[in-house]
């Protein structure tokens, strides 16, 4: 147990260290003092106003990470969270702006719509895999392209308030106010507020954790991920499990854009936030697919993203150094995890055989 924890923590630590060292070297090489840059980031990043912004940013990162992690739990790569959440957002925005129900119903309707759209879109990849053997990586990449460049662009023109002009202001009608999520409190004279969607994120995280770790369906999922053949012999229906995992992953992916849409934007427009689906993959990878890990790594990525702003403002170092750090963290993390996993297995083997020696002597 201790072995397990030790090696699980060692890898992200090594990865973060590698990222700090590597970016320090780069900063030094380009004539910037890394100590100054990092301490500025830390100072700015620990202010209340920054932390609120970071939390707001963490919400979609976290949900996206959870969506990806459900797939990872059974060795499925849902690269399609990106397309799923964008498509879900536009459809949910349309539904939310078309009806005006009392708040609880309105919110439920919007969220259920988003989850359904996400689930259907990723379920498609699941069905393609089980019925035709199409690898989910390829189908979800294709579905991303179709969702983002095709369907969403088409729907945006179709549903936009100004009837499809190409201006940057192209947007859908505003969602009825009963569907909005309030901000919990504001800081910096009301400029930044924390989205109450954070509660939805917490619920999603907790449900994810208990579903995967503590229910028999979650067990089936994990067992299939470890050994599809062993799982099959134990009574798991592999095809059904693949579809279940994809549908669940897509349903959660559907929620990724909701925080932004329902708290801040209130309509779907051309500038709607993109790329969170891919960040989610990084979050899940660094977070090792478990609740705490995903929460921490969502926060880390969000913090880097937000706090890096100070570098630019102060002119110390290019903000883009954060992009560099993010990349190195991920790459170092995946390699470190692969190495640590092997080391852990070796050590466990050794301790187990020592235990046997003790028993037999």
């Amino acid at each position: 147990m201790i072995t397990r924890i030790k090696y699980t923590l060692a890898a992200p630590a090594i990865a973060l260290l590698a990222a700090v060292i590597f970016s320090s070297v780069v900063l030094l090489a380009t004539g910037v003092s890394p100590i100054e840059a990092f301490s500025n980031m830390a100072e700015y990043g620990s202010r209340g106003v920054t932390l609120v912004a970071v939390l707001n940013r963490s919400i979609p990162f976290f949900i996206s990470g959870i969506a990806v992690a459900i797939g990872f739990k059974m060795n499925l790569f849902n690269i399609g969270v990106e397309g799923q959440y964008i498509l879900a957002a536009i459809v949910a925005a349309k539904v939310g702006s078309s009806v005006d129900l009392p708040a609880p119903l309105q919110i439920t309707l919007i969220l259920v719509t988003a989850m359904t759209v996400g689930a259907l879109w990723s379920g498609l990849a699941g069905v393609m895999k089980t019925s035709r053997g199409v690898h989910e990586v390829i189908s979800t990449i294709m579905l991303n392209a179709i969702a983002v460049a095709g369907v969403t662009a088409f729907l945006l023109r179709r549903w936009s308030v100004d009837g499809g002009s190409q201006s940057l202001e192209t947007k859908l009608p505003e969602i009825s106010e009963s569907g909005w999520f309030p901000v919990l409190f504001t800081v910096d004279n009301g400029r930044v507020g924390l989205s109450s969607f954070i509660f939805v994120a917490i619920v999603v995280g907790v449900v994810f954790h208990f579903f995967v770790e503590r229910t028999r369906w979650g067990y089936d999922l994990r067992a299939t991920g470890i050994s599809a053949t062993s799982a099959e012999s134990s009574g798991v229906n592999p095809k059904r499990t693949v579809i279940l995992a994809m549908v669940l992953s897509g349903a959660i992916a559907g929620l990724v854009g909701m925080s932004e849409l329902l708290t801040f934007e209130h309509n779907y427009n051309l500038r709607f936030v993109q790329g969170i689906g891919f960040t989610g993959i990084a979050v899940a990878l660094l977070g090792r697919n478990n609740l705490a890990g995903i929460a921490v790594s969502a926060f880390v990525f969000a913090w880097l993203d937000v706090a890096s702003g100070v570098l630019e403002v102060r002119g110390d170092a290019p903000r883009a150094v954060v992009g560099l750090m993010t990349g190195v963290v991920i790459l170092a993390a995946v390699i470190a995890y692969a190495v640590m996993e092997r080391k852990r297995a070796e050590e466990e083997l050794r301790t187990a055989s020592e235990a046997i020696e003790e028993v037999s002597t």
Partner: protein, 509 residues
């Protein structure tokens, strides 16, 4: 006076807990076809792998054409003119026949392959030996027999004079076997030496010049085919003495637990794998199914459990029609399963032991409460009981399954499967590849469970195990049950000849 092509002396190879080859000797004369016979697990393949440089021997001397050699890799064996055709072909499906043959030894001018030369050379080689293949076809499109010819050409192209064929007939249909034998005769006529592994005795007698029989890692005898009959050979393979079934009290009751009627299953290629099998197992009875590997026993178990569908026939389990049950239903109704390939079918290697214990019981108490909620504490306690009761050597129930030795993994599976509320245990090779101590423990567990009223279907290649445990012995050959025998009375000769198809019940009394 003929010379020896290959001479092996005192070859010993140990794997953890098992001695695969125990001072094996082998003398193969130049230009002969030499068969190596033995049961599954007798150590034939290991011996051939040693000769081909794939595994180093722990002890012993190898001589090729009188010269002592040490092999570190197949490449070195190839350089000495030794070539091997593996049972599972080493051919890339999406490359052409020609590409597969020349790979690694391409005739090329400054990196550009000289296809004309390759074509000519291989065509000449193939026609010299009567090995017909279409060089430009993708291997993917070839029949098994053609693939085998490609493999043979591949070793000949590299200049092999000594050919090792690992169970070449196992994958072939009869007319392909005939063609293979024709090729072998041609090769011999041109001065090649052929060693091949086989356990179909009629084939061995037909083609070989000499036969060496290996049993339990030891050379039993080398004989000439004209001096022996198939039954003599069967006896040599199985051994002159069968283990004593022991004085066990019969615990068979008259309650039928499993009843099969005319069960037939079909393989992916559409051929029948299990053919019209009917028998029943009672509570408190162990029914052993003997047979050479690949005669449908594994598929039979998988069909009963519900992994593979049953094409025709009927399965009754405790009186209920279980023909179309899926695995989960079978499990919930009380079937336990000890799979043949424990790592692929019975374990989650990177998961802790208690989750492995839960495998196959993940819908049942004590692992599950309120229908779907996992109870990790109860599960852990259950696993600790299994660990205690079945003597699984492990620090605790939280280590991963891959930290355990094979024997302990197996004890965990056996314990886990038998500690549930089951009335039928499907046990496939329950002691394969585990050490002697663990083996004895598993046997004892099976006997105890049987006494407690469990019905067991036992598949094994280990005759000690089958005869020592079974109340009744069935023999499967080519998917059919060819004999039902009394383990207390059966002779090795009898059992061997049924298993190898040398006789079928009816022409034997």
């Amino acid at each position: 006076m003929s010379t020896l092509a290959v001479e092996l002396e005192g070859i010993t190879k140990r794997f953890p807990g098992v001695i695969a080859n125990d001072k094996v000797g082998l003398r193969v004369e130049d230009g002969e076809i030499h068969a190596i016979c033995g049961e599954n697990g007798a150590g034939k393949s290991t011996l051939m792998k040693i000769l081909y440089g794939m595994q180093p021997a722990d002890e012993g001397v190898m001589k090729v054409r009188g010269e002592e050699i040490v092999l570190r890799s197949p490449t070195e064996a190839i350089a000495l003119g030794i070539g091997m055709v593996h049972q599972h072909f080493m051919l890339a499906d999406n490359l052409t026949v020609l590409e597969n043959i020349i790979l690694g030894a391409e005739p090329a001018r400054s990196g550009v392959i000289d296809f004309k030369k390759a074509h000519e050379d291989i065509t000449r080689l193939a026609s010299d030996y009567g090995l017909n293949v279409e060089l430009d076809d993708l291997v993917e499109t070839l029949e098994v027999g053609e693939r085998q010819r490609v493999e043979i050409i591949k070793v000949l192209y590299r200049g092999a004079k000594i050919l090792i064929l690992d169970e070449p007939t196992a994958v072939l249909v009869p007319h392909e076997v005939e063609a293979l034998f024709q090729n072998m005769r041609e090769l011999k006529a041109q001065g090649h030496t052929i060693m091949f592994i086989d356990h179909k005795l009629s084939e061995v007698l037909e083609i070989s010049d000499s036969i060496t029989v290996i049993r339990r890692g030891k050379t039993v005898a080398t004989v000439k085919p004209e001096d022996v009959t198939a039954r003599d050979l069967a006896e040599l393979m199985v051994g002159s003495e069968l283990p004593d079934p022991g004085t066990q009290l019969a615990t068979v009751t008259d309650k039928v637990v499993l009843d099969l009627t005319g069960v037939t299953t079909v393989g992916p290629d559409g051929r029948d794998i299990v053919k019209n099998v009917s028998f029943s197992i009672h509570a408190g009875e162990i029914v052993g199914v003997a047979g050479v590997e690949g005669n449908g026993q594994g598929e039979l178990v998988e069909a009963v459990l519900g992994i593979n569908p049953i094409e025709k026939g009927k399965v009754l389990f405790n009186g209920e029609d279980a023909t179309d049950w899926k695995v989960r239903r079978s499990r919930e109704a009380g079937m336990g399963y000890i799979p043949e390939d424990r790592q692929r079918r019975g374990l989650l290697l990177s998961a802790p032991l208690w989750e492995n214990d839960m495998l196959g019981h993940q819908t049942l108490a004590p692992f599950i409460e309120r229908g779907f909620w996992i109870d990790p504490d109860a599960a852990r306690r259950h696993t600790e009981e299994v660990i205690d009761k079945f003597d699984v050597r492990t620090p605790n129930a939280l280590v991963s399954a891959h930290a355990l030795s094979g024997g302990n993994q197996q004890k965990l599976i056996v314990g886990s499967q038998m500690s549930g509320d089951i009335s039928l245990l499907l046990a496939a090779h329950p002691t394969a590849g585990i050490d002697v101590g663990a083996q004895a423990a598993v046997w004892e567990d099976l006997r105890t469970a049987r006494a407690a009223g469990l019905a067991v279907m036992l598949i094994s290649a280990d005759l000690d195990e089958l005869i020592g445990l079974s109340d009744r012995l069935l023999v499967m050959f080519h998917g059919e049950i060819v004999a039902e025998l009394d383990p207390a009375k059966v002779t090795p000769r009898e059992l061997g000849s049924y298993m190898t198809g040398a006789s079928a019940q009816g022409d034997h009394s």
